[in-house]
Structure formats: C-alpha cells, structure tokens
C-alpha cells in the first residue's frame, strides 16, 4: 500500500476524515512555502497538495490564478518547486501530492518529471487538465517510479468515464464537488452525496472531495459522506492576505487546526 492510501487507511478505523490542504508553491516565495507547508502539516493536515504554478490554469478560479501569477512573478520554476519539496521532506513525512497542469510536465519531460519528483520524496501527482482518456502513457511512467496518480471525477462524468478514472488512479479519487472552477463557496451542492455514492459503487479507493470546500463546517459535512476533504482557495486566500510572514504562519495554523478538528467530528 502506498503512503497516500496508507494515510486514508489509518484514519478510517477511528472514523476520521482525511484533510488534504492545497498550497501554491512559490506564493509568496519558495522559501516561505517550505515553512507554510510545514506549518500546515504540524497543524493537523493529513496530505499536502503542492501546486506548481502555471500561467493558464483552466480549472482554477481567481484565487489560485492569482497565487500562480504571484508565484511565477516571484520566480518559481519547476526545479525550484522540486527543491522546495526536498526541503519540506526533510522536515515532515506528510504525503505530498503535486498538482499542476500537463504542459509544464510535458516540457520538463514526463519521465524526468516523475524521476525528479520521486527523488525529492513526492508521493503522488495530479495533472488537472489530463483526463484519463489522454493519460495512458502518463500512468505507465508514474507506475514505473511508484508515484501515486490522482484523477478528477466530476458530477457530470458519465459512468463509463468514472470507471476509467478509477482504473487509472492509484492514490485517491478526487471528487469534484461541483461544475466550474476552484474557489471558496458558501454552500455544499445538494447532489454531493449522490456524486460520491456513484464513485463509491465502482471502487474501494479512497475518495476525497474538493472544489469550493472552505470552512470547518463544510469539511465536517464532507467527511460524513467521503473519506476526505480538500481545501485550497481558502488557505491560499489567508496566505495572500496576511500582512507578514509571522502573521501568515499563525493564521494558517489556526485555520488548518480548525479544519483538522472538523474531520474528527
């Protein structure tokens, strides 16, 4: 069992949901990302999604677009993010999942990318614009280096595509809570329970729900129906709005602790 599945498995007996927290690497700087991620891990997150910033992230709303833009302007590169991940790995053993778009991976070279990721201690990869139907070679490369794959399943994904996504996944299934882009929303969609049940029917893999999950209440509600909750934009907002480094770590810590507590309700 890989480290990602292990994390879900060890939470399950206690009835705890898994908290996945997304952070855009390089916003405000790669040095700070090391400390932010360490803080997120220390505050009770179970898995980190580390975003490699991309200039044109189709699946992302204004919050993560803004973070990506700031990170790129601050000089974040793919190699820089890998170096950052290596430093994070020295401080914590929390599973790290890279999230990015496929073009950066393609330019770095899929095999080199996976090799490098594996070397610095990355556990899994999610390319948000690489649907399973285009991912045959990618899955083979990831498997060769024992990196877990994560794929998205949307509420609009037809059954045969759900089956295909599950087949390609070796980490967890990322259930997209709603149509549209990433970003904080006030309410959970009404059909979320059905969407998750639809995936559950065809797989025993862990299922985590993301897109629009931004409060401890929502995390608690999601953990009732799925194995985990993914929070991104709400954390990215805190990182962006804090006035200085100390305040940033303090606010991130407070927020992630509240989210983590919600997974145990």
């Amino acid at each position: 069992m890989n480290s990602i599945q292990q994390t879900f498995a060890s939470n399950r007996p206690a009835g705890r949901g898994v908290l996945v927290v997304y952070v855009t690497a390089g916003d405000p700087s790669l040095e700070e990302t090391v400390e932010i991620v360490t803080t997120v891990a220390d505050s009770g997150a179970d898995i980190i999604e580390l975003g490699i910033p991309y200039s044109d992230p189709l699946a992302d709303g204004p919050t993560i677009q803004g973070a990506s833009q700031r990170a790129l302007e601050a000089g974040a590169t793919i190699q820089g993010v890998f170096d950052c991940a290596a430093q994070i790995r020295e401080r914590t053993s929390i599973p790290l999942v890279i999230m990015t778009c496929y073009n950066p991976i393609l330019q770095f070279g899929p095999e080199t990318f996976v090799q490098e990721a594996s070397k610095v201690g990355i556990d899994g990869i999610l390319a948000s614009d690489l649907p399973p139907s285009e991912a045959e070679q990618w899955c083979a490369v990831a498997a060769e280096y024992e990196l877990s794959t994560v794929f998205l399943v949307a509420p609009t994904t037809p059954p045969q595509r759900v089956a295909r996504a599950v087949e390609c996944t070796t980490g967890f299934v990322y259930a997209v809570a709603r149509p549209g882009v990433t970003g904080a929303r006030d309410e959970l969609p009404e059909d979320l329970k059905d969407s998750v049940a639809r995936i559950r029917q065809v797989t025993d893999l862990p299922i985590a729900v993301g897109f629009g999950i931004s409060t401890p209440q929502q995390v608690a509600a999601v953990c009732e129906i799925a194995d985990g909750a993914i929070v991104g934009s709400a954390v990215v907002d805190i990182i962006a709005e804090a006035s200085n480094h100390e305040a940033r770590l303090q606010q991130v810590s407070r927020f992630v602790s509240a989210l983590a507590a919600a997974t145990r309700q």
């Binding site: 044109d56 393609l106 330019q107 149509p179």
Partner: protein, 392 residues
C-alpha cells in the same frame, strides 16, 4: 467528414486531443456526438445552407484584383469574406454552431473574441435565435476594437472584460472555458477558431470549409482551372484552414501567413509555427509559444485576431508534414498592405487579412505572370480604422 490527416478521432498526427479538466469531458462527449449526428444529417446541412445563403449572403465573390495583380506581376484573386454578413468569415462557423446548440437544447452561448469579429458573429446569431450571449474579451482588445464592442452590445450581447494576462485573446479564451465549465448544463461554448479540444478543430474547420469549397467551384468557372496558390493569414487558423481544406488533395500550394509582430528575433510576435514548440494550450496539443517550463508566453500582433500564442492542431500537422507552408510578416508590413489595398482596390482589409496581402506584395516579381493566386480576404477593416490611424 474525415481526412487522411485525422488518424484517429480528434488527432492530427501527434497534435490535437482533449486536454481539459474532467469537468468538461461530459460536455465534450455530448458535443462530439451531437456534431457527428448533425453533420451526417441532410436536414442540418439544408438549414445551415439556408442561413449561409439568405442570411449571410453566401457565396461570397472571388474577385480579380487587377491593380493589385499589376503590382504583383501575377493574377491575384481575393476571396471576399469581408462581404459576408458582419464583415468577416466568422459568421460561417457561428451559424453552424448555433444550429448545433439549438439541437442540443442549450439556450446560452459563451464565446471568446480577440478582434471582436467572432464576438460580433456570435452576438449576431445569439440575436437571430434569441439566445443569451456572453462574450469574453481582453481589456487590451476592448481598447483597440471599440467599434466591435459597440456592435456586440447593440446586438444584445454582454461583454465580460478580461483583465488577466495581457488582456488579449488567450486570456479571454481561458475565461470563456471557465464560464462553460461552470454552466455546462445550459451553455454552449461557441469557440471561434480551429483550436481547443476535440471536436472544435474539426468542427470549426468543417463549418469554415465553405470558403474553400466555393473557391473550388468559382475558380474553374472564372479562370478555367484551379488556383496555383492559396494564401491566408493564420492566428488560430480558421479562415486559412477553411480555404485550404478542400484543396488538400490537389496540386495547389497552400501558404499560411503568421504575425511576425515586431519581428521574430524580438520575441514579440504571434508566430508559433515559425518560432514555437510542441505543447498544450486550451485543450489541444499543437505548436505554442512557451518558456522552458511550459509557461505560456504572451503573443504580440498589431492584429488582435492574430494575437494568440497558439495555432490550430491541424495547421501544426500540415506544417510538420510539409503539405502547407507557413511564413510570417511584421506589423509594419501588414500596416503597409492595409494602406495599399485600400488605395489600389478601394477595399479596406482587416489587419489580419492584411498579413496575407503583405506576403504576396512582398513577393511581387517572384510569381509567374499566369499564376493564379487566391488570397483570403477574411474580413473588412472598418474595425481597425481608428487603431491604424493612431499608429500611422
């Protein structure tokens, strides 16, 4: 319609595909199916031909530009897409897609636009069929294409200004796709070029192929044979593929003209075929402008409709296979051609089309006297008059 260039659904050699978030895959599957059914349905073609003929005013003339021919030392014919309703070839495609959207029962249209011609053509069909229409347009393009913005509003469309990136076509395309993703249930994304995920490159090409089909009939009627060369500008590449496609199996030279902006050596251009590399943008694999980390580089062209760091996957394939030749001309050359055609023929061309004209004018003297060259005059230049005046 399939060709030897499509080795499998939505692929042109190693180009094309569907690289989009899963959230869109359901909608793409639905669109592929609806499109294939419609394209195989005689009723659909009848309806489309009706609107092309009685609403858009097709066929557009193939016009022998005599004074331009004298200047170039050859026979230059202009395919007058500028005379199509709304002033550009864009309406050919929006009519096709709006009929498809109606078949799919989608009452809302979203589109991206650069020069505003596609936005106007989308707003037009939105008005024609009483559909809510939202057009995403970069703030820089809104600035330089004011007239078209006013036209879109007059037609009842809502313009959503896009501030991200450089505020041009690439950024508008991102936002249009994001809107579609959030509203897939009731919305059709009416993409204006032969870019994007499958089926857009194939579908938009098929709708624009009416341009080449007409030339294929008109040229033998008027000249007695097929043309020797076809020349068209290439941004995303819809007018050029529409002209080229029906001639792929003929002994006819195909020349696409990209925007060299301030010059290829400056990096400020919109010529991914001349100076780009293999990558993914807006859902398909093609030649794109990017840095070594795969971050997309902003394009530059004086012509808003060419100001895009990617190109349709079928062009990338035709470029790689050598079936078509791609060249580029600078902003300055295009501006000169804009002025020249206006004074020589009494036709003010769109700055995009002026690129195709500029290449032929540059090559003056290199053609045979009896050669027949067809330039796609993809749009009229009224929209550019104010911008050109400020540049001259």
């Amino acid at each position: 319609m399939t060709t030897e260039t499509e080795q499998r659904s939505g692929r042109f050699g190693r180009y094309g595909g569907q690289y989009v978030p899963e959230t869109l895959m359901g909608a793409l599957d639905e669109l592929v199916q609806a499109y294939e059914q419609a394209w195989a349905d005689l009723e659909f073609h009848k309806e489309l031909e009706y609107y092309w003929r009685y609403y858009a005013g097709r066929p557009t003339p193939l016009y022998l530009a005599e004074r331009l021919s004298d200047l170039c030392g050859t026979q230059v014919y202009l395919k007058r897409e500028d005379l199509n309703h709304t002033g550009a070839h864009k309406l050919n495609n929006t009519l096709g897609q709006v009929l498809l959207a109606r078949r799919m029962g989608k009452p809302r249209l979203v589109a991206e636009t650069g020069a505003g011609q596609h936005g106007v053509a989308t707003a037009t069909v939105g008005a024609l069929f009483g559909m809510e229409t939202v057009v995403y347009m970069g703030v820089e393009d809104i600035r330089r294409q004011r007239l078209n913005c006013f036209r879109m509003e007059l037609l009842g469309a809502r313009i959503e200004p896009v501030e991200s990136g450089k505020g041009t076509l690439k950024d508008a395309t991102n936002e249009a796709i994001r809107d579609w993703m959030a509203n897939v249930e009731n919305t059709h994304y009416l993409m204006g070029s032969v870019c994007g995920p499958h089926p857009y490159p194939t579908m938009v090409r098929d709708f624009q192929s009416i341009i080449g089909q007409e030339v294929r009939e008109q040229c033998p009627e008027q000249v007695g044979r097929l043309p020797d060369k076809l020349v068209a500008c290439v941004g995303g590449g819809s007018n050029s593929i529409g002209l080229f496609y029906p001639f792929l199996d003929d002994d006819v030279e195909l020349i696409g003209v990209e925007g060299a902006g301030h010059g290829l050596h400056t990096g400020e251009h919109s010529a991914p075929l001349a100076a780009g590399s293999f990558g993914i943008l807006h859902g398909s694999a093609s030649q794109i402008m990017q840095d070594e980390d795969g971050q997309i580089i902003n394009a530059h062209s004086v012509a808003a409709g060419l100001d895009y760091p990617g190109v349709g996957p079928e062009h990338a394939y035709l470029h790689e296979s050598g079936r078509a030749t791609y060249v580029s001309v600078t902003d300055e050359q295009a501006l000169a051609a804009f002025d020249q055609l206006s004074k020589l023929e009494g036709i003010i061309p769109a700055l995009e089309a002026a690129h195709a004209l500029a290449w032929v004018i540059e090559q003056a003297g290199n053609f045979g006297e009896d050669e027949v060259i067809v330039i796609n005059l993809s749009g009229r230049g009224d929209k550019d008059a104010a911008e050109v005046k400020s540049l001259l």
